[in-house]
């Protein structure tokens, strides 16, 4: 029993960090040139093997599991990694589990870029970062499936709250590849836990940004970090981030081991990580004061990404409702 990364896992993470910090800086340089920066990073994720981290080696994967995927995405979440990373990991898994080995390969090699599709009201769907993608992975709570972007013929661009993604709306299509129902449910949990991991990273990174500011910013002749009105919200952020991280890792391990409580643990993770992302981003704005409210401060990207990630898993309220419908795991 060990909830902290092993030495091998630490080594994997160290490599990831080294890559992320240069490939996906969360500063002005990123947003000035987002398309190019992210397209490059999405290619490089392929050469690092990220899309197949959790797939078996014969399938072209690294032969690791949901735990390693979650650890890596928690790192990537700190850098507000492009949604194409999540979508690619999920798409590769769907393709592999439905026997579409050739599609899986093009995703693993980075040839095929993948966007994300989620259900919207009145039978519509929303397409996230699908503009430069060939394939999309359609994520809803009853199933996951792959579809070609061209299947959506009435795509209409919409202004995205999160400036780090493109957003489109389209009519729902009949999914072209539908995995069997049972693996669909498992795949959904898998997807949820990966989104949780991104939210873990977001919660931690936005806290770190706020902590750094609280140490450096001077008011009334001292660093604002000495004031309890700053210190205590930061402590609460640490509590939320810690809860999010370890509940997410617990869920990832439960999925990796196919435990009977995997569903319970995953929905609990979604509730906790979803709140951590939103609440930590909100609290960070307040720590920065007026500056936090501008686009010159990095924090607004975290606020907007927290909205997006919570939405990708159908909103926190729905996740709570899933959880209360579960059998307890004592």
């Amino acid at each position: 029993m060990d909830l902290l990364p092993s030495a091998d896992q630490e080594a994997l993470l160290a490599g990831a960090r080294e890559f992320l910090v240069t490939a996906l800086p969360v500063d002005a340089s990123r947003w000035r040139d987002r398309d190019a920066v992210e397209a490059r990073a999405l290619k490089e994720f392929a050469s690092l093997g990220w899309y197949g981290v959790g797939l078996p080696e014969p399938a072209g994967g690294l032969g690791l599991g949901a735990a390693e995927e979650a650890l890596l995405l928690a790192e990537a979440g700190k850098y507000l990694a492009p949604i194409g990373l999540l979508a690619g990991m999920l798409a590769a898994r769907v393709a592999w589990s439905t026997g579409l080995q050739d599609v899986a390969s093009t995703i693993l090699t980075g040839e095929c870029r993948v966007g994300l599709v989620i259900p919207a009201q009145s039978g519509n769907v929303q397409l996230i970062d699908a503009t430069a993608s060939e394939q999309v992975v359609v994520l809803d709570s009853s199933t996951l499936c792959l579809a070609s972007c061209s299947a959506f013929h009435d795509r209409e661009p919409q202004p995205s709250l999160d400036q780090g993604v493109t957003l489109e709306r389209a009519s729902q299509i009949i999914p072209q590849v539908r995995p069997c129902e049972s693996s669909g449910a498992t795949l959904y949990l898998h997807a949820v836990v990966l989104v949780c991991a991104l939210m873990v990273g977001l919660s931690e990174a936005v806290m770190e940004v706020a902590v750094a500011h609280a140490k450096q910013r001077q008011q009334f002749g001292q660093s604002i970090g000495v004031f309890q009105a700053v210190k205590h919200p930061l402590a609460d952020m640490a509590v939320r981030a810690e809860a999010a991280r370890f509940q997410t890792m617990m869920a990832a391990l439960s999925i990796a081991d196919a435990r009977p409580d995997a569903s319970f643990q995953t929905h609990a993770a979604a509730v906790i990580a979803g709140r951590a992302a939103t609440a930590n981003a909100h609290a960070a704005v307040q720590i920065f004061g007026a500056m936090g409210y501008t686009q010159e401060c990095v924090v607004h990207h975290f606020v907007k990404r927290a909205v997006l990630l919570n939405r990708i898993i159908d909103g926190r309220l729905k996740q709570i409702d899933f959880l209360i419908a579960e059998k307890p795991s004592l």
Binding site: F220, H282, V303, R311
Partner: protein, 390 residues
Amino acid sequence: MNLLFTEEERDFRAEVRDWLESHRPPGIRPLDGRGMADYDIAWQRTQFEGGWAGIAWPVEYGGRGLTTVQQLIWHEEYAKAHAPEIGVCFVGLNHGGPTLIMNATDEQKRKHLPAILRGDQVWCQGFSEPGAGSDLASLRTQGRVEGDNIIVNGQKIWTSWAQWADYQELLVRTEPGSQRHAGLSWLVCDMKSPGITVRPITTMAGVAEFCEVFYDDVAIPLSNVVGGVGNGWRVAMSTLSFERGPGFMAEQMEAARLVEELIETAHTVRAPDGKRPAIQDDGIARTLGELRAEVTALRSMALAGISRADRTGTPGAEASILRLFLGEVVQKLYRAAMEIIGDESLVLSGWGQGWTRPYLHSFAYSMGGGTSEIQRNIIAERVLGLPRAR
């Protein structure tokens, strides 16, 4: 205690309602750009011509000199008529102008007050600095007396709509080496003076509302000092008692309207289970019910604040209670909205429309006019009498 208005007050309400109905400008107010400034100025001129400019200003300075309750009625009818927000004319009418009234020479008054009322002069504020946000007294922008001028060097920040302003109320340190509240002066700064650079800052919600203003050897005539060199802090604080108790009512009414709008929205969007309108979800309904109670209480508190101001002549530190509570309610409202509207939460709504852009804007509610932390300090120290930190 009573909720009754006098007959004169009821007549006054009818007069206000009629005038607003026939003069309220048509169309939607732009939320940014030159068009916005022009719109605001035109509306100010209309009000001036109708005799409604400077409703709280004394009659001797061209204002309407309304009583507190009349001001309340004005703001209530203004909100009901969906009249546009005051926008770029805010600082001149509600801060710069009143400061001049209380502290300026006759000549200074003559030069600026009528022009502010007519909409001919747009003013902005110049108090906050990058190193002096919540701690205003630590400001460092320097004014060096040279002959008949004060030469200003330094930087201000969070100046709303500086790009559209003609004049600025500018607080600078004119006594080198002075500390805290001492040695400051309050100047009328012509925004067209050489050496001024304005850089707008884009907010989270995408509006270029705030500006940085840089001063590079800007010469301001000594005759533009208001209240005497070195008295800037006293002058800047003198308008605290002019803070708009009744003006708060417009903000309350806007919040109340939004709660009802969100309740309506909850009738049209689906609940998290996808099976019924969101309003039938007891959890969502209860969040909305609490919000309804809160905005209702805000109105009662605002009325009490007006009664208090009517007796004491100043809204007092209790105004911080209103401000803090309003900010919390509005932020809670938009955060609830983001959960209720479901997939619409990903779409950035148009200017002044929908829920998402206003959600982003709502972060300002715990920043403006002192952060929520500062409001809590004020309430604790000035209302409850708790000791200040050393």
